[in-house]
Symmetry: C2
Subunit: 516 residues, 2 copies
C-alpha cells in the first residue's frame, strides 16, 4: 500500500535542527511519475474537417469578434497589435491571433516544492489533478453538505497520498466556512504545507492572484518564481466569447510573473455554444485563440494551456450531462486543434452527473477518462472526486477515480515487443494443453505484468460475501478512513512554514471578512 511505504529521509531547502527533525519523521509517499504516452492519439476529425473549423474560427474572430469587458488595458493592447476595437468588442484579423499564439511554449515544467514531483505539461505528457470548485462535499456516512476548510484539508491529504495523482490541484472544494476574501489564503497554505505536489493559484480576484504569487515567493524564493513556473491556474472564458475583467486580471498577474494559465472555454453545449459538435469546436477554437493571443500580448512566452471544458446538455431538463458521446467527440476534436497549434491541452476529468458514486458515476467517468487519455490531454483537472455535475466533491469517488487513474498509466505505457515480451520461449515451454502459471517466463514477469487495483474487489465470491458483500462505495469509505488515519505531513522547513503562516495572518488581519 502506497501510504505505508515506510520512512525515508528527504533533503529540503533551508536548515536548522527543527527542519532536520521534521525531515526525519516524514513518511515517503509513492507518487507515480506523470504519464508519458507511448501510444498514438485518437484522431476523430479528418484534415478537411479540421481546416473547415480553423477557417470558421478565424471568421468568428474577424467578423463577430470577442468582448473584453471592463478592461481598457486589454483593449489598448489589442488595438496596438492590429485588432479592430469597437467599444468592448475586439475583432481580430484573420491569422493574427494564431500568429500571436506562436510565442507560447509547446510544453513547460511546473515545479513542485519536492522536485521529484515536478510535472511537464505538454507534448506526450498527461498530468492528473483533482476536482476543482464544488461548494458541497459528500461521503457515505455524512451525506451531502456544504464544504468546509476541514474538508478542503482532507482532500489535499488524500491527493497527497494518491499514487496516480500528480498534482494537488486548486479549489478541491469551496471552504464555505471561511470568508470569501480570505479563503484563497487558507487554501494555498493547505496545498503548500499538507502536500508537496504542484498546485494551482487563486483566480477569483486579481489581488488574490497577486497573493498567490507572493506566497509562492515565500515557499520557493522570489528569484525562483520569476524564473520558473510554480503555479498552473484556471482562467475560464465566459462563453460565448466574453473575457471578463476578473479572470483576465488574474491572467495578467500570472502571465507577468511567468506563471501558467489554462485558458478554457466553459461550455454547456446548446446553452453557451451551438448544439453541434463542429459549431462548438469552432467557438472553442476562436475563444482559445483570442485568450491565448492575449496572454502573449501581456508577456510573450508566458506558459499557457489550450483548455476545453465542454459538456452536453439534457434538452428535457437543461441539466448538463457527462460521459456522453458528444462530449467525447468534442474532446477528441479539441485535442487535434490544440496539437496543430503546438500547445498543451487541458480537458477531461472524472466527470459525471450522478448524485452518488454509483454505476452511473462510473460509466460517465470512465467514458471521459478514456477519451482524455486517447485524446491527448496534457493536463486533466477533475481527474478524481467530481460528483453531481461538479457541485459535489465526493470522498469515496476521490479514491475510486484516483485508483482508476492507474489504468491510464499502464495503458499509456504501450505494448513492448522486446524479446522478453515476445515470450516465444514460454509458448514453446508450455505447448498445447499446458498452463503458464508455473513457467519460468511467468515467474520472472508476473509482478509487473498486470495492473492491479488497490481498491476494487477481486476476491472469491464466498470471501466477499463473508466480509459483508461490500459495494465499491463501501470499499472506498474504508480506504478514505485508512488514508486519512495514516496521513503524515511532508516535511517543510519550519522557517518557511512560519513565514507562510505570518503572511496569511497579516493578510487576514488587513481586511474585514466578506462573504460574497
Amino acid at each position: 500500500m502506497m501510504a505505508e511505504a515506510g520512512v525515508a529521509p528527504r533533503r529540503g531547502r533551508g536548515g536548522g535542527g527543527a527542519a532536520r527533525r521534521a525531515e526525519r519523521t516524514a513518511i515517503r509517499i509513492e507518487t507515480a511519475k506523470y504519464i508519458e504516452r507511448n501510444i498514438p492519439n485518437f484522431e476523430i476529425l479528418s484534415e478537411e474537417a479540421l481546416e473547415i473549423i480553423e477557417t470558421n474560427a478565424e471568421t468568428v474572430l474577424a467578423e463577430i469578434g470577442v468582448n473584453f469587458v471592463n478592461n481598457p488595458g486589454a483593449l489598448a493592447l489589442w488595438r496596438e497589435a492590429g485588432a479592430e476595437v469597437e467599444g468592448e468588442r475586439v475583432r481580430i484579423p484573420r491569422g493574427l491571433a494564431r500568429q500571436l499564439c506562436q510565442t507560447a511554449p509547446e510544453s513547460f515544467t511546473q515545479h513542485a516544492r519536492n522536485p521529484e514531483k515536478n510535472v511537464v505539461i505538454g507534448g506526450k505528457s498527461l498530468v492528473c489533478a483533482p476536482v476543482y470548485g464544488p461548494p458541497f462535499v459528500r461521503d457515505a456516512a455524512g451525506g451531502r453538505r456544504y464544504a468546509t476548510m476541514e474538508d478542503f484539508r482532507n482532500f489535499v491529504k488524500l491527493g497527497y497520498m494518491s499514487k496516480y495523482l500528480h498534482h494537488s490541484g486548486g479549489t478541491v472544494c469551496e471552504p464555505t466556512d471561511v470568508p470569501v476574501n480570505k479563503r484563497h489564503l487558507d487554501m494555498l497554505l493547505a496545498h503548500m504545507t499538507l502536500s508537496d505536489k504542484p498546485f494551482m493559484g487563486s483566480v477569483t480576484e486579481p489581488s488574490r492572484a497577486q497573493d498567490s504569487v507572493e506566497m509562492c515567493e515565500i515557499l520557493f524564493g522570489k528569484d525562483f518564481v520569476q524564473q520558473n513556473t510554480v503555479m498552473t491556474s484556471l482562467i475560464n472564458i465566459n462563453s460565448p466569447m466574453t473575457f471578463d475583467d476578473v479572470m483576465m486580471g488574474a491572467l495578467e498577474i500570472y502571465a507577468k510573473n511567468n506563471q501558467a494559465c489554462i485558458v478554457s472555454p466553459f461550455i454547456v453545449g446548446g446553452a453557451m455554444a451551438p448544439v453541434s459538435v463542429a459549431g462548438t469546436l469552432t467557438q472553442v477554437l476562436a475563444e482559445v485563440l483570442a485568450g491565448i493571443a492575449y496572454s502573449q500580448l501581456v508577456r510573450p512566452g508566458a506558459p499557457v494551456i489550450f483548455g476545453a471544458f465542454v459538456t452536453s446538455i439534457d434538452m428535457n431538463s437543461g441539466a448538463p450531462t457527462f460521459g456522453t458521446p458528444e462530449a467525447s467527440q468534442i474532446l477528441y476534436g479539441a485535442g487535434q486543434l490544440a496539437r496543430r497549434m503546438k500547445l498543451p491541452f487541458r480537458s477531461g476529468g472524472g466527470l459525471c452527473a450522478s448524485k452518488l458514486p454509483d454505476a452511473q458515476a462510473a460509466y460517465e467517468t470512465a467514458n471521459t477518462l478514456n477519451a482524455a487519455l486517447l485524446g491527448g490531454v496534457n493536463f486533466m483537472l477533475h481527474a478524481c472526486g467530481w460528483l453531481e455535475g461538479g457541485l459535489v466533491s465526493s470522498y469515496e469517488k476521490f479514491v475510486m477515480d484516483a485508483d482508476q487513474l492507474g489504468v491510464l498509466h499502464k495503458m499509456a505505457a504501450g505494448v513492448s515487443v522486446d524479446e522478453n515480451a515476445q515470450a516465444m520461449g514460454a509458448i514453446a515451454e508450455v505447448g498445447p494443453g499446458g498452463h503458464y502459471l508455473g513457467c519460468a517466463h511467468t515467474q520472472a514477469n508476473f509482478k509487473e505484468a498486470f495492473w492491479r487495483s488497490d481498491l476494487l474487489d477481486y476476491k472469491p465470491f464466498e470471501t466477499w460475501e463473508e466480509e459483508g458483500a461490500r459495494d465499491t462505495q463501501a470499499l472506498a469509505s474504508a480506504r478514505v478512513a485508512h488514508l486519512l488515519n495514516s496521513y503524515q505531513q511532508p516535511a517543510l522547513d519550519p522557517e518557511i512554514a512560519a513565514a507562510l503562516n505570518a503572511y496569511v495572518a497579516a493578510k487576514k488581519a488587513s481586511m474585514p471578512d466578506a462573504f460574497m
Copy 2:
C-alpha cells in the same frame, strides 16, 4: 420509451387468419440498426510490432503446432492440406494457415426472422449481443441464485426490448432447471419465438448443433438456411493451442451448413497464455489462424469471425480481472491483426469482475466498451448483463449496459461538418455574451443533438432526493420490471410455431434426461 412506441402491423411469412390475428396484436419495438462506424480505429501497435507478432505466430504453428484432439477427420484434412501431423499434433508450414484463411468472407449478413433486424458482421460494423454462459442470475430483489429457464426467457425478452442490442445472443444464462441434453432446445425455442432478432446456435455437442440447424430450417425454410447465414455460434479454443472434438464437431456442422462461427481463444492471461501482451497476441493469432484455416478446410467460404476473449489475472488471487489496461491493449492489437487478415473481429463486451452492478462494474465495463468501439470490434458478445467474471447474468446490469450501448452508437456516427453542423449562423446570431437555448439553430437541431440515456438520472438534486435518492441499480430494477411488464411477443406464423414446438417435444421424448 422504446417499449411504448405503439402498434404497427408487420407482414410475415406464411398466412392464415391466425397469423394475421397474431400480427395485429404485435407491438413494434424500436431497434437501432447495427453500428456502422464513421470514425477511425485506434491502432496501438506499430507496423514493426505487427510484423513481429505475425512472424512469431507462424513460428508457433510451424515449430510447436496445435493439437486437434479425438478428431481423426480433422487430422486427415490437415495432412491433405500439407501440414505435418504427428499423433494429434498438427504443425502447419509457414504461410499455409494464412493462405487457407483467404477463402473466409470479409463480412457476412446474418439473417433474422424479421429482415429489418438482419445484421452485417465485418467491415465497419459493430453488432451487439448480450451476455453468454452464466450459471447464476442476480437481481436486487432476489440476490444471486442458479439460473432457470424462466430467467432465460426473461433475458430474451429484455434483449428483444433493448433498442441498442442488435442480437438476441445465445446462452443468455444457463437454464439449470432443464436437463443438460435438452436445454438447447428450450433455449433456441425461446430465441425463435420470444424475439425476432438474430441468435446463436448450440455448441455443447455436435448433435445439438445439428438440432440448431434443423430448428432453423423450420423457422426460415430449408433452402433459405443453406443459402444464407442464420446463426453465429461461439466456438472456443481450449487455449493454449488445443482444439477439442466437441467444439470442432460443432464447427464442422455449422461450416458445412454455411452457418457462421466465432473462432475464439478463451484466455486468462498468465494461465492460458504468457503474461505479456505481445506473447498473448502471438498465441491468439496462431490459434485463430489454425482454427479459421480448419473451418475453410471443412468448407471454403464458410463465414467465420476472428475471436479474442482475453482477460488479465490478479496474480494475488488467481482471479480473472476485467477492464484492465492489458486487456484493452490486447483487444486493440487483436483488432489490428484481424483487419490485416480481412476477417470480422469479435472481442469486448460489458466485462467486469464486480459481484454487484456498482461503480466497479461500471468502470470495468465502460473501459471495455470504449476499447471495443475504438478497437474495431464487429461482433460484441457480452455487450450487456455480464457480472462477476461471467458467473452471473444480472437483470439490472443488463438494462444499464444496454443503455450505455447508445453511447457507442452516437460516438461511432462521427462528427458532421456540413453547413448545418458548422452553425456559423448561430454563432453570429448569438454573439459574445448571448445564449443559444432560444436561437433558431438550437430549436431546429436540439432533438437529435445530444444522446440521452433512457435510464440514468439527470434530475435536479431536490427532485431526485424527493423521489427516494435512488442509485443506478434501483433505477435499473424499476426499468427491468417496466420492460417485463410491458413485453409483448412478436408475431410468428402459428404453423411455424407449432412445428417448432412439435420438433422440440419429439426431440425431448427421444432421449432420457441427462444432467451432466
